[in-house]
Protein backbone atom coordinates (compact mmCIF):
# COMPACT_ATOMS: atom_id res chain seq x y z
CA UNK A 1 0.00 0.00 0.00
CA UNK A 2 3.02 2.26 0.09
CA UNK A 3 2.43 5.17 -2.24
CA UNK A 4 4.99 6.44 -4.67
CA UNK A 5 6.98 9.46 -3.68
CA UNK A 6 6.47 12.31 -6.13
CA UNK A 7 10.06 13.22 -5.40
CA UNK A 8 11.12 9.77 -6.59
CA UNK A 9 10.56 6.10 -5.69
CA UNK A 10 8.30 4.33 -3.22
CA UNK A 11 8.73 5.28 0.42
CA UNK A 12 9.46 2.60 3.00
CA UNK A 13 6.95 2.55 5.80
CA UNK A 14 7.80 4.04 9.15
CA UNK A 15 5.49 5.57 11.73
CA UNK A 16 6.21 9.30 12.16
CA UNK A 17 8.11 10.39 15.28
CA UNK A 18 5.84 10.44 18.29
CA UNK A 19 4.69 13.80 19.62
CA UNK A 20 5.09 12.23 23.06
CA UNK A 21 8.86 12.30 22.52
CA UNK A 22 8.95 16.03 21.78
CA UNK A 23 9.69 18.85 24.16
CA UNK A 24 6.62 20.94 23.35
CA UNK A 25 5.02 22.69 26.31
CA UNK A 26 1.32 22.21 26.98
CA UNK A 27 0.82 25.91 26.29
CA UNK A 28 2.67 25.69 22.98
CA UNK A 29 0.76 22.56 22.04
CA UNK A 30 -2.57 24.23 22.75
CA UNK A 31 -1.52 27.36 20.90
CA UNK A 32 -0.79 25.33 17.76
CA UNK A 33 -4.11 23.50 18.18
CA UNK A 34 -5.90 26.83 18.54
CA UNK A 35 -4.18 28.29 15.46
CA UNK A 36 -5.00 25.14 13.48
CA UNK A 37 -8.66 25.46 14.42
CA UNK A 38 -8.74 29.16 13.52
CA UNK A 39 -7.12 28.42 10.16
CA UNK A 40 -9.69 25.71 9.46
CA UNK A 41 -12.62 27.92 10.46
CA UNK A 42 -11.46 30.95 8.46
CA UNK A 43 -10.80 28.69 5.49
CA UNK A 44 -14.33 27.32 5.84
CA UNK A 45 -15.88 30.81 5.84
CA UNK A 46 -13.95 31.78 2.73
CA UNK A 47 -14.48 28.44 0.95
CA UNK A 48 -18.26 28.60 1.20
CA UNK A 49 -18.52 32.40 0.80
CA UNK A 50 -21.77 32.21 -1.21
CA UNK A 51 -23.34 30.74 1.96
CA UNK A 52 -21.43 32.69 4.60
CA UNK A 53 -20.63 36.15 3.25
CA UNK A 54 -23.00 36.91 0.38
CA UNK A 55 -26.54 36.40 1.80
CA UNK A 56 -26.24 38.81 4.75
CA UNK A 57 -24.79 41.46 2.47
CA UNK A 58 -27.74 41.14 0.07
CA UNK A 59 -30.30 41.14 2.90
CA UNK A 60 -28.80 44.20 4.57
CA UNK A 61 -28.52 46.02 1.25
CA UNK A 62 -32.27 45.56 0.84
CA UNK A 63 -32.77 47.22 4.24
CA UNK A 64 -30.66 50.16 3.06
CA UNK A 65 -32.75 50.50 -0.09
CA UNK A 66 -36.04 50.31 1.83
CA UNK A 67 -35.05 52.60 4.69
CA UNK A 68 -33.11 54.97 2.47
CA UNK A 69 -34.60 56.06 -0.85
CA UNK A 70 -37.97 54.31 -0.36
CA UNK A 71 -39.11 55.06 3.20
CA UNK A 72 -36.35 57.10 4.82
CA UNK A 73 -37.43 60.51 3.59
CA UNK A 74 -41.04 59.95 4.68
CA UNK A 75 -40.00 58.90 8.19
CA UNK A 76 -37.83 61.96 8.68
CA UNK A 77 -35.13 62.51 11.30
CA UNK A 78 -34.54 60.52 14.46
CA UNK A 79 -32.45 61.92 17.32
CA UNK A 80 -31.04 64.52 14.93
CA UNK A 81 -29.95 62.08 12.21
CA UNK A 82 -31.53 60.98 8.96
CA UNK A 83 -33.46 57.75 9.47
CA UNK A 84 -31.02 55.76 7.36
CA UNK A 85 -28.09 57.13 9.36
CA UNK A 86 -29.90 56.18 12.55
CA UNK A 87 -30.66 52.58 11.57
CA UNK A 88 -27.33 51.82 9.89
CA UNK A 89 -25.39 51.05 13.12
CA UNK A 90 -28.16 48.71 14.19
CA UNK A 91 -28.20 46.95 10.83
CA UNK A 92 -24.42 46.49 10.97
CA UNK A 93 -24.59 45.18 14.54
CA UNK A 94 -27.47 42.87 13.64
CA UNK A 95 -25.34 41.36 10.86
CA UNK A 96 -22.32 41.03 13.16
CA UNK A 97 -24.05 39.27 16.01
CA UNK A 98 -26.25 36.93 13.98
CA UNK A 99 -23.40 35.82 11.74
CA UNK A 100 -20.96 35.32 14.61
CA UNK A 101 -23.55 33.12 16.25
CA UNK A 102 -24.55 31.22 13.13
CA UNK A 103 -21.00 30.53 12.03
CA UNK A 104 -20.08 28.77 15.25
CA UNK A 105 -23.37 26.96 15.68
CA UNK A 106 -23.35 25.60 12.13
CA UNK A 107 -19.66 24.71 12.09
CA UNK A 108 -19.65 22.94 15.45
CA UNK A 109 -22.95 21.18 14.89
CA UNK A 110 -21.73 20.12 11.43
CA UNK A 111 -18.62 18.68 13.07
CA UNK A 112 -20.80 16.84 15.58
CA UNK A 113 -23.17 15.64 12.87
CA UNK A 114 -20.33 14.24 10.75
CA UNK A 115 -18.54 13.09 13.91
CA UNK A 116 -15.28 14.77 12.90
CA UNK A 117 -15.40 16.75 16.15
CA UNK A 118 -13.86 13.51 17.46
CA UNK A 119 -10.63 14.55 15.74
CA UNK A 120 -10.31 17.28 18.36
CA UNK A 121 -11.73 15.34 21.27
CA UNK A 122 -9.19 12.51 20.98
CA UNK A 123 -6.33 15.02 20.76
CA UNK A 124 -4.62 16.65 23.75
CA UNK A 125 -6.18 20.05 22.88
CA UNK A 126 -7.72 21.74 25.89
CA UNK A 127 -11.36 22.80 26.02
CA UNK A 128 -10.25 26.44 26.00
CA UNK A 129 -8.31 25.98 22.77
CA UNK A 130 -11.28 24.26 21.11
CA UNK A 131 -13.76 26.91 22.26
CA UNK A 132 -11.55 29.86 21.34
CA UNK A 133 -10.67 28.35 17.97
CA UNK A 134 -14.32 28.04 16.97
CA UNK A 135 -15.12 31.45 18.48
CA UNK A 136 -12.41 33.25 16.53
CA UNK A 137 -13.83 31.71 13.36
CA UNK A 138 -17.23 33.15 14.30
CA UNK A 139 -15.73 36.54 15.12
CA UNK A 140 -13.93 36.54 11.78
CA UNK A 141 -17.15 35.96 9.89
CA UNK A 142 -19.14 38.43 12.00
CA UNK A 143 -16.61 41.22 11.63
CA UNK A 144 -15.99 40.50 7.95
CA UNK A 145 -19.70 40.82 7.25
CA UNK A 146 -19.90 43.87 9.51
CA UNK A 147 -17.13 45.51 7.50
CA UNK A 148 -18.73 44.62 4.16
CA UNK A 149 -22.16 45.84 5.28
CA UNK A 150 -20.61 49.07 6.52
CA UNK A 151 -18.96 49.60 3.13
CA UNK A 152 -22.24 48.88 1.34
CA UNK A 153 -24.00 51.38 3.63
CA UNK A 154 -21.61 54.09 2.44
CA UNK A 155 -23.21 53.79 -1.00
CA UNK A 156 -26.48 55.00 0.55
CA UNK A 157 -25.57 57.26 3.45
CA UNK A 158 -22.78 59.40 4.94
CA UNK A 159 -21.74 57.65 8.13
CA UNK A 160 -19.82 59.62 10.75
CA UNK A 161 -17.51 57.76 13.14
CA UNK A 162 -17.62 59.59 16.45
CA UNK A 163 -15.54 57.10 18.50
CA UNK A 164 -13.60 54.69 16.22
CA UNK A 165 -11.91 52.61 18.94
CA UNK A 166 -15.09 52.25 20.94
CA UNK A 167 -16.94 51.23 17.78
CA UNK A 168 -14.42 48.49 17.05
CA UNK A 169 -14.37 47.34 20.68
CA UNK A 170 -18.16 46.99 20.82
CA UNK A 171 -18.25 45.09 17.52
CA UNK A 172 -15.50 42.70 18.65
CA UNK A 173 -16.96 42.10 22.12
CA UNK A 174 -20.47 41.56 20.77
CA UNK A 175 -19.12 39.17 18.19
CA UNK A 176 -17.22 37.22 20.87
CA UNK A 177 -20.27 37.00 23.12
CA UNK A 178 -22.47 35.63 20.35
CA UNK A 179 -19.78 33.26 19.10
CA UNK A 180 -19.66 31.73 22.58
CA UNK A 181 -23.46 31.60 22.59
CA UNK A 182 -23.42 29.76 19.27
CA UNK A 183 -20.94 27.27 20.68
CA UNK A 184 -23.24 26.45 23.60
CA UNK A 185 -26.22 26.11 21.26
CA UNK A 186 -24.31 23.67 19.05
CA UNK A 187 -23.18 21.62 22.04
CA UNK A 188 -26.71 21.00 23.29
CA UNK A 189 -28.27 20.68 19.81
CA UNK A 190 -29.35 17.19 18.83
CA UNK A 191 -30.69 17.94 15.36
CA UNK A 192 -30.81 20.70 12.77
CA UNK A 193 -34.04 22.10 14.24
CA UNK A 194 -32.20 22.78 17.48
CA UNK A 195 -29.68 25.05 15.78
CA UNK A 196 -32.32 27.17 14.07
CA UNK A 197 -34.60 27.66 17.08
CA UNK A 198 -32.45 30.22 18.88
CA UNK A 199 -31.64 32.37 15.81
CA UNK A 200 -35.26 32.32 14.64
CA UNK A 201 -37.21 32.58 17.86
CA UNK A 202 -34.77 34.40 20.15
CA UNK A 203 -32.08 36.33 18.31
CA UNK A 204 -34.13 37.80 15.49
CA UNK A 205 -37.00 39.06 17.71
CA UNK A 206 -34.60 40.46 20.31
CA UNK A 207 -32.61 42.18 17.58
CA UNK A 208 -35.69 43.64 15.89
CA UNK A 209 -36.93 44.86 19.28
CA UNK A 210 -33.45 45.92 20.39
CA UNK A 211 -33.53 49.46 19.08
CA UNK A 212 -32.22 48.72 15.59
CA UNK A 213 -35.06 50.57 13.88
CA UNK A 214 -36.16 53.01 16.57
CA UNK A 215 -35.11 54.79 19.71
CA UNK A 216 -36.55 53.27 22.89
CA UNK A 217 -37.31 56.82 23.99
CA UNK A 218 -40.20 56.69 21.51
CA UNK A 219 -41.79 53.80 23.39
CA UNK A 220 -44.38 54.27 26.07
CA UNK A 221 -44.43 52.38 29.33
CA UNK A 222 -44.24 49.50 30.08
CA UNK A 223 -42.52 48.72 26.74
CA UNK A 224 -39.65 51.11 27.38
CA UNK A 225 -38.81 49.39 30.69
CA UNK A 226 -39.29 45.96 29.14
CA UNK A 227 -36.86 46.93 26.38
CA UNK A 228 -34.13 47.53 28.95
CA UNK A 229 -34.25 43.81 29.75
CA UNK A 230 -33.16 43.08 26.18
CA UNK A 231 -29.35 42.68 26.16
CA UNK A 232 -29.14 43.37 22.43
CA UNK A 233 -30.46 46.88 23.07
CA UNK A 234 -27.23 47.67 24.93
CA UNK A 235 -25.03 46.31 22.17
CA UNK A 236 -26.86 48.13 19.39
CA UNK A 237 -26.86 51.39 21.30
CA UNK A 238 -23.20 51.14 22.26
CA UNK A 239 -22.32 50.60 18.60
CA UNK A 240 -24.57 53.49 17.57
CA UNK A 241 -22.83 55.66 20.13
CA UNK A 242 -19.47 54.69 18.63
CA UNK A 243 -20.60 55.78 15.15
CA UNK A 244 -23.08 58.59 15.76
CA UNK A 245 -22.23 59.67 19.32
CA UNK A 246 -25.87 59.03 20.26
CA UNK A 247 -27.25 56.36 22.59
CA UNK A 248 -30.36 55.54 24.62
CA UNK A 249 -28.33 53.97 27.42
CA UNK A 250 -25.11 54.75 29.36
CA UNK A 251 -22.07 53.23 27.56
CA UNK A 252 -20.56 51.91 30.78
CA UNK A 253 -23.62 49.76 31.39
CA UNK A 254 -23.44 48.50 27.81
CA UNK A 255 -19.86 47.34 28.31
CA UNK A 256 -20.77 45.77 31.63
CA UNK A 257 -23.60 43.82 29.98
CA UNK A 258 -21.25 42.68 27.22
CA UNK A 259 -18.61 41.50 29.69
CA UNK A 260 -21.19 39.66 31.80
CA UNK A 261 -22.37 37.79 28.70
CA UNK A 262 -18.85 36.98 27.53
CA UNK A 263 -17.71 35.70 30.92
CA UNK A 264 -20.97 33.85 31.54
CA UNK A 265 -21.05 32.14 28.14
CA UNK A 266 -17.34 31.31 28.31
CA UNK A 267 -17.61 29.75 31.77
CA UNK A 268 -20.71 27.79 30.79
CA UNK A 269 -19.12 26.51 27.57
CA UNK A 270 -15.93 25.40 29.33
CA UNK A 271 -17.89 23.65 32.06
CA UNK A 272 -20.02 21.88 29.46
CA UNK A 273 -16.93 20.86 27.49
CA UNK A 274 -15.36 19.36 30.61
CA UNK A 275 -18.50 17.35 31.24
CA UNK A 276 -18.68 16.41 27.57
CA UNK A 277 -22.24 17.74 27.14
CA UNK A 278 -23.44 16.79 23.67
CA UNK A 279 -19.97 15.50 22.81
CA UNK A 280 -19.35 12.41 24.90
CA UNK A 281 -21.83 9.73 25.92
Amino acid sequence: MNGSDPRGGPRPFSVPPSVADGARSRLGENWVGFVTTVRREVHRVLRIWPQTLLPPVITTSLYFIIFGPVLGNRIGEMEGFSYLQYVTPGLVMMAVLINSYQNVVSSLFGAKFQHHIEEMLVSPMSGQAILLGFAVGGVFRGLAIGAIVTMVSLLFVDLPVAHPLLTIAVAVLTSVAFAFGGFINAMVARNFDDISIVPTFVLTPLTMLGGVFYSVSLLGEPWRTVSYANPILYMVNAFRYGLLGESDIPIGIAFAVLLVFIVGFYAAAIRMLRRGVGMRS
Binding site: F13, N30, Q114, E118
Partner: protein, 314 residues
Protein backbone atom coordinates in the same frame (compact mmCIF):
# COMPACT_ATOMS: atom_id res chain seq x y z
CA UNK B 1 18.38 -2.57 42.03
CA UNK B 2 16.69 -4.35 39.11
CA UNK B 3 15.35 -2.09 36.36
CA UNK B 4 11.69 -1.24 36.61
CA UNK B 5 9.65 -3.34 34.15
CA UNK B 6 8.17 -1.41 31.22
CA UNK B 7 4.52 -0.57 31.82
CA UNK B 8 2.00 -2.23 29.52
CA UNK B 9 0.80 -0.27 26.53
CA UNK B 10 -2.69 -0.43 27.99
CA UNK B 11 -3.82 -1.42 31.46
CA UNK B 12 -7.53 -1.40 32.27
CA UNK B 13 -8.83 -2.20 35.73
CA UNK B 14 -12.44 -2.53 36.85
CA UNK B 15 -13.83 -0.55 33.92
CA UNK B 16 -17.56 -0.03 34.17
CA UNK B 17 -19.99 1.90 32.06
CA UNK B 18 -23.67 2.33 32.74
CA UNK B 19 -25.53 4.49 30.24
CA UNK B 20 -28.28 6.89 31.26
CA UNK B 21 -30.91 4.41 30.07
CA UNK B 22 -29.59 1.93 32.63
CA UNK B 23 -27.77 -0.33 30.17
CA UNK B 24 -24.63 -1.76 31.74
CA UNK B 25 -22.30 -1.81 28.75
CA UNK B 26 -19.22 -2.74 30.79
CA UNK B 27 -19.36 -4.73 34.00
CA UNK B 28 -15.79 -4.58 35.28
CA UNK B 29 -13.34 -5.04 32.43
CA UNK B 30 -9.71 -5.86 33.26
CA UNK B 31 -7.23 -5.89 30.40
CA UNK B 32 -3.46 -5.77 29.92
CA UNK B 33 -1.92 -5.19 26.52
CA UNK B 34 1.86 -5.55 26.41
CA UNK B 35 4.03 -3.09 24.53
CA UNK B 36 4.53 -4.10 20.89
CA UNK B 37 1.55 -6.47 20.99
CA UNK B 38 -0.91 -7.03 18.15
CA UNK B 39 -4.01 -7.52 20.23
CA UNK B 40 -7.48 -8.52 19.13
CA UNK B 41 -10.61 -7.55 21.02
CA UNK B 42 -13.48 -9.65 19.78
CA UNK B 43 -17.09 -9.83 20.72
CA UNK B 44 -20.60 -9.91 19.29
CA UNK B 45 -22.53 -6.72 18.58
CA UNK B 46 -23.24 -4.82 21.77
CA UNK B 47 -20.61 -6.75 23.73
CA UNK B 48 -18.80 -3.59 24.85
CA UNK B 49 -15.89 -3.37 22.39
CA UNK B 50 -16.61 0.11 21.10
CA UNK B 51 -17.54 1.37 24.57
CA UNK B 52 -14.19 0.17 25.91
CA UNK B 53 -12.35 1.87 23.07
CA UNK B 54 -14.49 4.99 23.44
CA UNK B 55 -13.52 5.29 27.09
CA UNK B 56 -9.82 4.68 26.38
CA UNK B 57 -9.86 7.45 23.76
CA UNK B 58 -11.98 9.72 25.99
CA UNK B 59 -14.98 9.82 23.65
CA UNK B 60 -17.11 8.08 26.26
CA UNK B 61 -17.26 8.89 29.98
CA UNK B 62 -16.56 5.97 32.31
CA UNK B 63 -18.70 5.09 35.30
CA UNK B 64 -15.84 3.47 37.23
CA UNK B 65 -12.39 1.99 36.80
CA UNK B 66 -8.94 3.10 35.78
CA UNK B 67 -6.98 3.18 32.53
CA UNK B 68 -3.26 3.63 32.01
CA UNK B 69 -1.59 4.07 28.64
CA UNK B 70 2.14 3.30 28.85
CA UNK B 71 1.85 4.04 32.58
CA UNK B 72 0.06 7.38 32.04
CA UNK B 73 -3.28 7.57 33.85
CA UNK B 74 -5.94 8.83 31.45
CA UNK B 75 -7.83 10.56 34.26
CA UNK B 76 -4.88 12.34 35.91
CA UNK B 77 -3.07 13.22 32.69
CA UNK B 78 -5.53 12.95 29.79
CA UNK B 79 -3.35 15.04 27.47
CA UNK B 80 -0.30 12.88 28.13
CA UNK B 81 -2.29 9.70 27.46
CA UNK B 82 -3.91 11.11 24.31
CA UNK B 83 -0.52 11.88 22.77
CA UNK B 84 0.28 8.17 22.90
CA UNK B 85 -2.93 6.95 21.23
CA UNK B 86 -4.09 6.92 17.62
CA UNK B 87 -7.66 5.88 16.90
CA UNK B 88 -9.35 4.63 13.75
CA UNK B 89 -13.05 4.52 14.66
CA UNK B 90 -15.60 2.13 13.28
CA UNK B 91 -17.78 4.89 11.87
CA UNK B 92 -16.49 7.16 9.13
CA UNK B 93 -15.85 10.44 10.91
CA UNK B 94 -14.13 12.49 8.25
CA UNK B 95 -15.00 16.04 7.35
CA UNK B 96 -16.47 15.23 3.95
CA UNK B 97 -15.89 18.76 2.72
CA UNK B 98 -12.15 18.86 3.41
CA UNK B 99 -9.22 17.66 1.34
CA UNK B 100 -7.24 14.65 2.60
CA UNK B 101 -4.05 16.68 2.94
CA UNK B 102 -5.84 19.23 5.11
CA UNK B 103 -7.62 16.58 7.17
CA UNK B 104 -4.39 14.83 8.10
CA UNK B 105 -2.39 18.05 8.58
CA UNK B 106 -5.12 19.52 10.79
CA UNK B 107 -5.07 16.40 12.92
CA UNK B 108 -1.34 16.89 13.40
CA UNK B 109 -2.07 20.50 14.37
CA UNK B 110 -4.50 19.38 17.06
CA UNK B 111 -1.58 17.45 18.55
CA UNK B 112 0.53 20.61 18.67
CA UNK B 113 2.56 20.00 15.52
CA UNK B 114 3.23 23.32 13.72
CA UNK B 115 1.64 23.74 10.30
CA UNK B 116 4.78 23.33 8.17
CA UNK B 117 5.80 20.09 9.89
CA UNK B 118 2.15 19.00 9.98
CA UNK B 119 1.92 19.25 6.20
CA UNK B 120 5.15 17.29 5.75
CA UNK B 121 3.93 14.53 8.06
CA UNK B 122 0.54 14.52 6.34
CA UNK B 123 2.21 14.21 2.94
CA UNK B 124 4.26 11.22 4.14
CA UNK B 125 1.26 9.48 5.66
CA UNK B 126 -0.78 9.97 2.50
CA UNK B 127 2.04 8.56 0.42
CA UNK B 128 2.23 5.45 2.61
CA UNK B 129 -1.47 4.94 2.24
CA UNK B 130 -1.39 5.41 -1.51
CA UNK B 131 -3.53 8.54 -1.25
CA UNK B 132 -1.02 11.12 -2.44
CA UNK B 133 -2.75 11.47 -5.79
CA UNK B 134 -6.03 12.16 -3.99
CA UNK B 135 -4.64 14.75 -1.59
CA UNK B 136 -6.56 17.68 -3.07
CA UNK B 137 -9.94 16.12 -3.81
CA UNK B 138 -12.81 16.41 -1.36
CA UNK B 139 -12.98 13.53 1.10
CA UNK B 140 -16.58 12.83 0.10
CA UNK B 141 -15.45 11.84 -3.39
CA UNK B 142 -13.11 9.10 -2.10
CA UNK B 143 -14.14 5.45 -2.27
CA UNK B 144 -14.98 3.58 0.94
CA UNK B 145 -11.58 1.89 1.01
CA UNK B 146 -9.78 5.19 0.47
CA UNK B 147 -11.72 6.79 3.31
CA UNK B 148 -10.64 3.94 5.59
CA UNK B 149 -7.02 4.44 4.59
CA UNK B 150 -7.36 8.17 5.11
CA UNK B 151 -8.58 7.51 8.64
CA UNK B 152 -5.52 5.33 9.27
CA UNK B 153 -3.24 8.07 7.88
CA UNK B 154 -4.93 10.57 10.16
CA UNK B 155 -4.48 8.29 13.18
CA UNK B 156 -0.77 7.84 12.47
CA UNK B 157 0.24 11.42 11.77
CA UNK B 158 1.27 12.25 15.35
CA UNK B 159 3.23 9.02 15.75
CA UNK B 160 1.08 7.12 18.26
CA UNK B 161 2.66 4.31 20.25
CA UNK B 162 -0.72 2.63 20.63
CA UNK B 163 -2.92 2.39 17.55
CA UNK B 164 -6.52 1.34 18.15
CA UNK B 165 -8.60 0.23 15.18
CA UNK B 166 -12.31 -0.40 15.60
CA UNK B 167 -13.50 -2.60 12.73
CA UNK B 168 -11.03 -1.05 10.24
CA UNK B 169 -11.96 -3.30 7.34
CA UNK B 170 -15.73 -3.29 7.78
CA UNK B 171 -17.42 -2.95 4.42
CA UNK B 172 -14.29 -2.95 2.27
CA UNK B 173 -13.54 -5.48 -0.46
CA UNK B 174 -11.18 -8.38 0.09
CA UNK B 175 -8.34 -6.80 -1.87
CA UNK B 176 -8.34 -3.69 0.30
CA UNK B 177 -8.76 -5.83 3.40
CA UNK B 178 -5.65 -7.83 2.55
CA UNK B 179 -3.71 -4.65 1.77
CA UNK B 180 -4.83 -3.18 5.10
CA UNK B 181 -3.63 -6.32 6.91
CA UNK B 182 -0.25 -5.93 5.27
CA UNK B 183 -0.09 -2.31 6.32
CA UNK B 184 -1.09 -3.08 9.90
CA UNK B 185 1.59 -5.74 10.11
CA UNK B 186 4.15 -3.18 8.95
CA UNK B 187 2.95 -0.65 11.51
CA UNK B 188 3.16 -3.26 14.26
CA UNK B 189 6.60 -4.34 13.06
CA UNK B 190 7.78 -0.75 13.41
CA UNK B 191 7.09 -1.01 17.16
CA UNK B 192 3.58 0.39 17.41
CA UNK B 193 1.26 -1.57 19.68
CA UNK B 194 -2.02 -2.35 17.92
CA UNK B 195 -5.42 -3.14 19.35
CA UNK B 196 -7.89 -4.36 16.77
CA UNK B 197 -11.57 -5.04 17.06
CA UNK B 198 -13.11 -6.89 14.19
CA UNK B 199 -16.05 -8.99 13.15
CA UNK B 200 -13.84 -10.85 10.68
CA UNK B 201 -12.42 -13.59 12.83
CA UNK B 202 -10.15 -14.66 10.01
CA UNK B 203 -8.64 -11.20 10.36
CA UNK B 204 -8.00 -11.65 14.07
CA UNK B 205 -6.55 -15.13 13.54
CA UNK B 206 -4.27 -13.81 10.80
CA UNK B 207 -3.03 -10.71 12.59
CA UNK B 208 -3.37 -10.93 16.36
CA UNK B 209 -0.89 -12.64 18.62
CA UNK B 210 -3.18 -12.27 21.59
CA UNK B 211 -6.96 -12.18 21.71
CA UNK B 212 -9.53 -11.15 24.29
CA UNK B 213 -13.18 -12.04 23.86
CA UNK B 214 -15.68 -9.71 25.44
CA UNK B 215 -19.34 -10.53 25.88
CA UNK B 216 -22.04 -8.63 27.74
CA UNK B 217 -19.48 -6.21 29.11
CA UNK B 218 -17.11 -8.82 30.53
CA UNK B 219 -13.91 -10.40 29.29
CA UNK B 220 -14.63 -14.10 28.92
CA UNK B 221 -11.27 -15.08 27.43
CA UNK B 222 -7.87 -13.40 27.26
CA UNK B 223 -5.00 -15.47 25.98
CA UNK B 224 -2.55 -15.85 23.11
CA UNK B 225 -4.06 -16.84 19.79
CA UNK B 226 -2.34 -20.22 19.60
CA UNK B 227 -3.60 -21.32 23.03
CA UNK B 228 -7.04 -20.10 22.14
CA UNK B 229 -7.16 -22.14 18.96
CA UNK B 230 -5.87 -25.22 20.77
CA UNK B 231 -9.04 -25.15 22.83
CA UNK B 232 -10.93 -26.09 19.71
CA UNK B 233 -11.49 -29.85 19.95
CA UNK B 234 -13.10 -30.46 16.56
CA UNK B 235 -13.03 -29.17 13.03
CA UNK B 236 -15.85 -29.24 10.51
CA UNK B 237 -15.22 -30.40 6.96
CA UNK B 238 -17.43 -30.24 3.91
CA UNK B 239 -17.11 -33.14 1.45
CA UNK B 240 -18.32 -32.81 -2.13
CA UNK B 241 -19.40 -36.19 -3.65
CA UNK B 242 -18.62 -36.90 -7.29
CA UNK B 243 -22.26 -37.89 -7.77
CA UNK B 244 -25.22 -36.68 -5.73
CA UNK B 245 -26.30 -38.99 -2.91
CA UNK B 246 -29.80 -39.40 -1.49
CA UNK B 247 -28.75 -40.70 1.91
CA UNK B 248 -25.58 -40.38 3.92
CA UNK B 249 -23.82 -43.54 5.09
CA UNK B 250 -23.68 -44.47 8.75
CA UNK B 251 -20.82 -42.39 10.26
CA UNK B 252 -21.49 -42.30 14.04
CA UNK B 253 -18.09 -40.84 14.96
CA UNK B 254 -18.34 -37.93 12.54
CA UNK B 255 -21.84 -36.49 13.17
CA UNK B 256 -22.59 -36.27 9.42
CA UNK B 257 -25.20 -33.96 7.91
CA UNK B 258 -26.43 -33.78 4.31
CA UNK B 259 -26.44 -30.20 3.12
CA UNK B 260 -28.93 -28.67 0.72
CA UNK B 261 -26.36 -28.54 -2.09
CA UNK B 262 -25.73 -32.30 -1.82
CA UNK B 263 -22.44 -32.01 0.04
CA UNK B 264 -21.76 -33.77 3.34
CA UNK B 265 -20.76 -31.96 6.49
CA UNK B 266 -18.75 -33.95 9.05
CA UNK B 267 -17.16 -33.14 12.41
CA UNK B 268 -13.68 -34.43 13.03
CA UNK B 269 -11.93 -34.66 16.41
CA UNK B 270 -8.57 -32.92 16.32
CA UNK B 271 -5.69 -35.39 16.37
CA UNK B 272 -7.74 -38.36 15.13
CA UNK B 273 -7.38 -39.95 11.69
CA UNK B 274 -9.57 -39.17 8.70
CA UNK B 275 -8.78 -42.51 7.06
CA UNK B 276 -11.68 -44.28 8.76
CA UNK B 277 -14.07 -41.72 7.34
CA UNK B 278 -12.92 -42.29 3.79
CA UNK B 279 -12.93 -46.09 4.26
CA UNK B 280 -16.60 -46.02 5.31
CA UNK B 281 -17.50 -43.72 2.44
CA UNK B 282 -15.61 -45.92 0.02
CA UNK B 283 -17.43 -49.03 1.23
CA UNK B 284 -20.75 -47.21 0.80
CA UNK B 285 -19.80 -46.37 -2.78
CA UNK B 286 -19.56 -42.65 -2.13
CA UNK B 287 -16.69 -41.12 -4.03
CA UNK B 288 -15.45 -37.75 -2.82
CA UNK B 289 -14.32 -35.14 -5.37
CA UNK B 290 -13.11 -32.47 -2.95
CA UNK B 291 -12.97 -31.51 0.69
CA UNK B 292 -12.74 -28.16 2.48
CA UNK B 293 -12.71 -26.72 5.96
CA UNK B 294 -16.19 -25.38 6.66
CA UNK B 295 -15.49 -22.32 8.74
CA UNK B 296 -12.79 -20.24 10.22
CA UNK B 297 -11.47 -22.07 13.28
CA UNK B 298 -11.57 -19.01 15.46
CA UNK B 299 -15.15 -18.36 14.45
CA UNK B 300 -16.19 -21.75 15.79
CA UNK B 301 -14.35 -21.17 19.03
CA UNK B 302 -15.73 -17.67 19.35
CA UNK B 303 -19.29 -18.87 19.04
CA UNK B 304 -18.72 -21.58 21.61
CA UNK B 305 -17.14 -19.21 24.09
CA UNK B 306 -19.86 -16.65 23.74
CA UNK B 307 -22.62 -19.26 23.90
CA UNK B 308 -21.12 -21.19 26.81
CA UNK B 309 -20.65 -18.42 29.30
CA UNK B 310 -24.02 -18.39 31.01
CA UNK B 311 -22.48 -16.61 33.98
CA UNK B 312 -22.28 -13.44 31.92
CA UNK B 313 -25.88 -13.64 30.81
CA UNK B 314 -28.26 -11.35 32.66
Amino acid sequence: MPPKPAPPALRIRGLRKTYKNGVEALQGVDLDVAQGEFYGLLGPNGAGKSTTIGIVTSLVNRSAGSIEVFGVDTENDPGGAKRLIGIVPQELNLNQFEKPLHIVAQQAGYYGIPWREARERAAECLQWMGLWDKRTVMARSLSGGMKRRLMIARALVHGPRLLILDEPTAGVDIEIRRATWELLEQINASGTTIILTTHYLEEAEQLCRRIAIIDRGRIVQDTDTRSLLQQLATETFVLDPVEPIAEIPDLPDFAPRLRADGSIEVEHARGSSLNELFQVLDRAGVRIASMRNKANRLEELFLRLVEHHPEVRP
